[in-house]
């Protein structure tokens, strides 16, 4: 049973409404870029000031876990694109399947993240004032882990919000509200999810690989 969508009265046509919503999403992504950007600027400044500390400290990060998380997120981006294109082509069952896959991959990302954080806590590699690890003697090392926890933590919050949105999409797709005529929310959540993946694409090398 597909319900029909009627565009808001103050738009001339459904297409105008769709274009407006899409551009609104892009403007929102601009604010997200600048919000994460602030953290990348802090990373850039501190890396410039204490390059050797960064190099020393990044060895304590679990590169294998970071790499798996990167693969997981890229796979979830692929499944999200396939979900969007399936909805655009009206293939509701494929769309539902891919949305579920994306949701599970996101869950897997969080699980890996949980183990990574647990390991850090156990080793005493905590941010700022709570840093009690013994091996890493550099006085500025706590700053690296402050940045690490704030950047990956904020990103994790965005992954959680993304999972909520995907679940909301799944429910409405299952009810048949989207199809070739109306798929705006699906495309917008797709943009958001790809953006979350895009942030991680930068986070992973900068924190885990080159440090």
């Amino acid at each position: 049973m597909t319900t029909t969508h009627h565009h808001a009265h103050h738009f001339a046509s459904a297409n105008d409404e769709f274009e407006a919503a899409k551009q609104g999403m892009w403007v929102f992504l601009v604010t997200e870029v600048l919000m994460f950007g602030g953290l990348f600027v802090a990373y850039g400044i501190f890396r410039g000031l204490y390059p050797d500390m960064f190099h020393e400290a990044h060895k304590f990060l679990a590169v294998n876990m970071g790499a798996t998380n990167t693969l997981v997120l890229i796979l979830s981006s692929i499944t999200m694109v396939l979900a969007v294109t399936a909805t655009q082509r009206g293939r509701r069952d494929r769309a539902v399947l891919f949305l579920v896959l994306t949701f599970l991959l996101a869950g897997c990302f969080l699980v890996v993240k949980y183990f990574e954080y647990a390991h850090k806590f156990h080793e005493g590699l905590l941010p700022g004032g709570y840093f009690v690890n013994q091996e890493l003697k550099d006085p500025k090392a706590p700053l690296f882990f402050s940045l690490y926890f704030v950047m990956t933590g904020l990103h994790m919050v965005h992954v959680l919000v993304g999972m909520g949105l995907i679940a909301w999409l799944f429910r409405r797709t299952a009810r048949g509200e989207f199809g070739p005529q109306y798929y705006t929310p699906v495309e917008l959540v797709g943009f958001y999810w790809h953006f979350v993946d895009l942030v991680w694409i930068y986070l992973f090398p900068l924190l885990y690989l080159v440090g």
Partner: protein
């Protein structure tokens, strides 16, 4: 609130990404991830950072152009997304003009050290007379050295006190002081310790610190009687002869002290697998040794004392000590302790010592 529109109009024809392109781009992203992980292994020096950034940007461009449809979308949205990176770059570059170009005076040297060195601490001429300065020095030393056994208020209820027989002195009560409660007598206890009890000699501390500790410890109970000149002479201080400390108490040999000084700060070893303390040796260890050496023998236990931040006990991990190898050395150290370092457990018999050594060897094995 939306007014009903008769016909359902679709929002026109929009580009739909073909599955092949989606999978192709996805595969490229996975490939690039593998590439960037591999390149990070190769040490290109400063170049590593730029290469990593470049690969990440290529991946980001792929996601934005294909997955987020920028390639087929109206140019406006691309321009909007692009400006955000432009303003981010402005933020980074202009902030860098400050942070990376701080010139002459902005020296990042150790500041607090500088502040203290200028205001030198005045030398105390007659340490055996209680002065508030010595009392506060004593309090600082007490919180570092003595809190473990004698407790924060000096009632002999410290965390390590549970396993000690006889129990540590309760300074707040007047009775039971083996050497007496005069400053010089407490000073003597600090120099020689109380043989047969866990009270180790603290000869390694400078004389002034020992006096400071003595005065502080006595200040916790009622006021002690004053020292007479003979009392002071007993501890080698000729008051009439200008009050110089005539002979210094026996201190540990120089090379031992040097080794102690040069040994790096003891670090907690990696905690081995948990060893259940079901054996008699295990229970004995937990009761009498764990409070200083750590349940898994990792050493350097963090002890939060009177002062704010954690003070680490100077215990090395068990795996680091050679004593565990030979039973004779192990038993002699455990029963009569190490001067100024470790209290002896004189009350243990032979079988208890061997069980204890068995348990310790298991801990050491787990740490290897």
């Amino acid at each position: 609130m939306e007014t009903q529109k008769p016909a359902q109009e679709s929002h026109g024809h929009h580009h739909i990404l073909s599955t092949e392109v989606a999978l192709g781009v996805g595969f490229a992203l996975l490939l690039l991830t593998g590439l960037t992980v591999w390149i990070a292994g190769v040490d290109l020096g400063r170049l590593n950072f730029l290469v990593a950034l470049l690969v990440a940007s290529v991946k980001a461009a792929l996601v934005a152009l294909f997955f987020m449809n920028l390639l087929y979308d109206r140019r406006e949205n691309g321009v909007i997304f692009g400006t955000s990176f432009l303003f981010l770059a402005i933020f980074l570059v202009l902030t860098a003009t400050d942070l990376f170009f701080r010139g002459d005076v902005a020296v990042k040297g150790p500041l607090t050290a500088f502040a203290q060195s200028k205001t030198a601490q005045p030398k105390v001429a007659r340490p055996w007379v209680a002065t508030p300065l010595l009392l506060s020095q004593g309090k600082m030393l007490y919180s570092q050295q003595c809190v473990a056994c004698h407790g924060p208020e000096g009632k002999g209820d410290g965390p390590a006190a549970g396993s000690l027989t006889p129990a540590p002195r309760d300074f707040t009560r007047a009775g039971g002081w083996k050497n007496g409660r005069k400053p010089s007598q407490v000073f003597k206890t600090l120099v020689e310790g109380i043989p047969g009890s866990a009270m180790a000699p603290y000869g390694t501390l400078p004389a002034e610190d020992r006096w400071a500790l003595a005065h502080f410890v006595l200040s916790l109970g009622e006021a002690p009687e004053a020292d007479t000149d003979e009392d002071l002479l007993k501890v080698g201080i000729d008051v009439k002869g200008g009050g110089q400390v005539v002979q210094e108490a026996p201190s540990i040999p120089l090379e031992v002290a040097m080794r102690r000084l040069t040994r790096p700060e003891p670090r907690a070893a990696k905690v081995g697998a948990k060893i259940e303390a079901e054996s008699a040796g295990g229970r004995l260890y937990l009761a009498r040794c764990a409070s200083c050496h750590g349940e898994a023998g990792e050493g350097a236990i963090a002890r939060v004392s009177g002062t704010l931040d954690a003070v680490r006990l100077r215990t090395a991990p068990l795996s680091a000590s050679q004593a565990v190898g030979s039973p004779a050395i192990f038993e002699s150290i455990v029963s009569n302790g190490l001067p100024g370092l470790m209290p002896g457990l004189a009350s243990l018999n032979g079988t208890q010592l061997s069980e204890l050594r068995e348990h310790v060897r298991k801990l050491v094995a787990a740490q290897q």
